[in-house]
Symmetry: C2
């Protein structure tokens, strides 16, 4: 069976069988059927349990062999010793795609290694492909399907996730606002990063992929696929286990061999993967790619309510690879004429004195519009206030940022500072701004620099 067939069996199964499932459902039971019901999954749900006749209002079969109708995908959560036998039963039943969720395999002890091997042998006999073990499996918001027993919100974002841990499967929801399609490869005994990249990389509902890997396997095949995906959409990668200690523990977490980090780094760079170091940066960058137009160069214009923030921008500009911006003649004129005579404006543009004279909308809008229109500016960072409701109307720049960022095809990121920073950023997201709110200015600078590097890499590949 071709990889693309497995893709649909795993990512958009028309029917799923849960083998080994909690007897009860509802809060605290971690019953995956609760998620599927909440997500209004349209496919057939089959359940297998040796002792119970009904779970969550659904009939339960005693064995895999007793299941009625076609089954695209089996999700197996039985004790580890039983898994090779269950795989055989799946094979006999004609099931070709299996997710094994439980821990205790190659990452654990010698028996676990042996069981993982036997499970793979059974799978090979029947042409079954296995995702896992040690995984939450798949979630696909577009197909209203998830194999996960962890409670999850369904949000149709253009964000794909490939990870080796529930930390990302569960946690990235907070960081990026929900994944459209997520694949936890767990121990990656069979389905690995290369498969997952192939599956997600060609999905036209996705605009970006977040990757968390403890081990990069597959050699040239990996490099080819990663490059081919990266030419289409960006892959923002957090490779962990980079330290000696971390690498050792990765072996006992997912049975991974972390590999020499310098080699990994070079390979990732060559294939266009965007490597970042911190979870927050990964999240910011993923959200940026999901929402913003491309950053076509390294020159950033800044509109700020605070001179101090402008200085902080300059301190960090070089450091993260942005370039000084020479504004075109005329760009500064409009905002200069709104500012006090004693003020000589430059980029970053401190609009506070103009705001005091002319109001937020007029002053902030004039500067932002001029920067966005300037061909010497590739993207804009806004530093704006976030105050309590009563004052935000007068001193808020949300609306004018939203409007202007819609009118121009350049990325805009905003850092809201002040007592209501988080709340204002959330509201800004909710109203569907094309601009991106970031939790720190330094983070915003890193986002813009990484976006520009990605475009540059893409260009280098198009020319060649």
């Amino acid at each position: 069976m071709k990889s693309c067939c497995f893709r649909s069996l795993f990512l958009s199964p028309k029917s799923v069988a849960f083998v080994g499932i909690p007897r009860t459902s509802g809060p605290g039971t971690l019953n995956p059927v609760d998620n599927l019901k909440r997500w209004e999954y349209g496919g057939q749900i089959h359940l297998v349990h040796p002792h119970v006749h009904e779970i969550a209002g659904l009939p339960v079969a005693r064995k895999v062999a007793e299941l009625n109708g076609p089954v695209d995908l089996a999700v197996v959560s039985t004790p580890r010793e039983s898994v090779p036998g269950i795989i055989r039963q799946c094979g006999n039943r004609g099931i070709k795609a299996v997710i094994v969720t439980n821990q205790g395999f190659a990452e654990a002890d010698s028996l676990g290694k042996e069981l993982q091997k036997r499970m793979l042998d059974e799978a090979a006999r029947f042409g079954i492909r296995i995702l896992g073990p040690n995984t939450l499996g798949i979630s696909n918001a577009f197909h209203r399907f998830t194999s996960s027993f962890m409670p999850q919100d369904r949000v149709e974002t253009p964000i794909g996730l490939i990870c080796q841990s529930g930390l990302f499967f569960v946690g990235d929801n907070q960081l990026v606002g929900g994944m459209g399609i997520a694949v936890d490869i767990g121990n990656a005994c069979d389905v690995g990063i290369v498969d997952a990249l192939e599956w997600l990389g060609n999905d036209d509902k996705l605009r970006v992929i977040a990757l968390h890997a403890e081990e990069i396997k597959g050699g040239n095949r990996f490099l080819e696929v990663a490059e081919s995906v990266s030419r289409r959409i960006p892959v923002v990668a957090l490779k962990t286990g980079r330290s000696v200690e971390g690498g050792k523990v990765a072996a006992s977490h997912t049975g991974s061999m972390a590999g020499d980090d310098r080699i990994v780094d070079a390979a990732m760079k060559k294939s266009g993967l965007i490597r970042i170091d911190e979870t927050q940066d990964q999240a910011d960058l993923v959200r940026a790619f999901a929402r913003l137009p491309p950053m076509r160069g390294f020159r950033v214009g800044v509109v700020t309510l605070s001179g101090a923030a402008g200085i902080m921008f300059l301190d960090n500009m070089d450091r993260y690879g942005l370039k000084p911006t020479r504004l075109s003649p005329g760009t500064i004129d409009g905002i200069q004429s709104l500012s006090p005579d004693w003020m000589r404006l430059a980029n970053p543009i401190d609009v506070w004195p103009a705001v005091m004279k002319k109001g937020m909308r007029k002053a902030f809008g004039t500067a932002l519009k001029a920067l966005l229109a300037d061909p010497n500016v590739d993207g804009v960072i806004c530093i704006a206030l976030a105050l309590a409701e009563a004052e935000q109307g007068h001193l808020g720049a949300e609306e004018v940022i939203r409007e202007l960022s819609e009118d121009f095809d350049k990325p805009v990121v905003v850092w809201f500072y002040g007592s209501r920073g988080e709340a204002t950023a959330k509201r800004f997201e909710k109203y569907g701004s094309p601009a991106l709110a970031v939790p720190s200015m330094e983070g915003g600078i890193r986002v813009m620099a990484a976006m520009a590097r990605y475009e540059k890499w893409k260009e280098s590949r198009t020319d060649g």
Copy 2:
């Protein structure tokens, strides 16, 4: 007059006169009297305006000379050309402390420089001290006093702030949850960092000081005061204008000369100031010092629901200066016995399999308690889940972390991951946990390393 007398005139004035004030009050007017009323300031409020008889329900004098009764502090917000004259009027009226809020002085142009000089000359004649210009001034939540025209929440935290920008005066409220006492030195034409450090460094209501500086002045005097304060409470410093470009712009922001960054760095290190690079790290560290017991060494224990997070901890441990932790014999036993047989636990302790068997409270609590009790552990990082309300009761570790961190005199930081991360962290703060919720694990690691370095510096000074 001694510095300590000026301290009380500026930080806890019994009476304040606003010279130059908006004619109207209420949202959008940025009238500082609104803040004082909301804060229930107990002192006398005087207002001076040439054309209006009543503002915000208070009587208004035409001139400084016409003010009745004693005036501890004048807050001057008149056009720059008028300021030297106003200072003279203040001198004649016996006012010894003045805050000048407006911009357009040494940071602006040659006229501004001249005006700043004339203002200082007038002040010198009368023995007046000036804070500013180009400042929001002072806020002191304990005294219910603020000179700021920017809307502000009053929160009595043990956090002091010394800054050169409204960015921090207004913005740190979000980042640290409010400052107990804040001093914006603005252009620092007279009152500078050294004075502010002396004023705040000896205040026993404060446990930590956040410092933002564009210029460090004062040579040996600065070093002495900084060291003396640092011996008592930590000072977490963000020195900006470190880049060549940033330094140039600092000169036009607050008229500061940023100075050679390597010299600044060495001076800060010697005097015990804790230098950080990013606003979010400053905020995390300030909150940590405000709340947590001291970190007496570099050995961190980790309780995690995710093996991947444990690996990420190890990747970052070295990098930020923490040391590997050899747990004492027996520390692991309790949680080992709750885990599956195939699992061999070590630090970081992955408790997820034990949670699946024994529930969150039992498993997480057993591991956390053992780490906190281990003399080979100086502090603990918890990596915990943050899910929707219905599930959080079963899978939340908030309560057990709160309880145990109260029982031990060691710092505990928590990273809540999952769809409700921010909300859970906020709730955790609200219930007054002695543990600290951090927005990222990497940030938590940096916090613990910096806390340990500070204790080590303090020890080095006590021995000497």
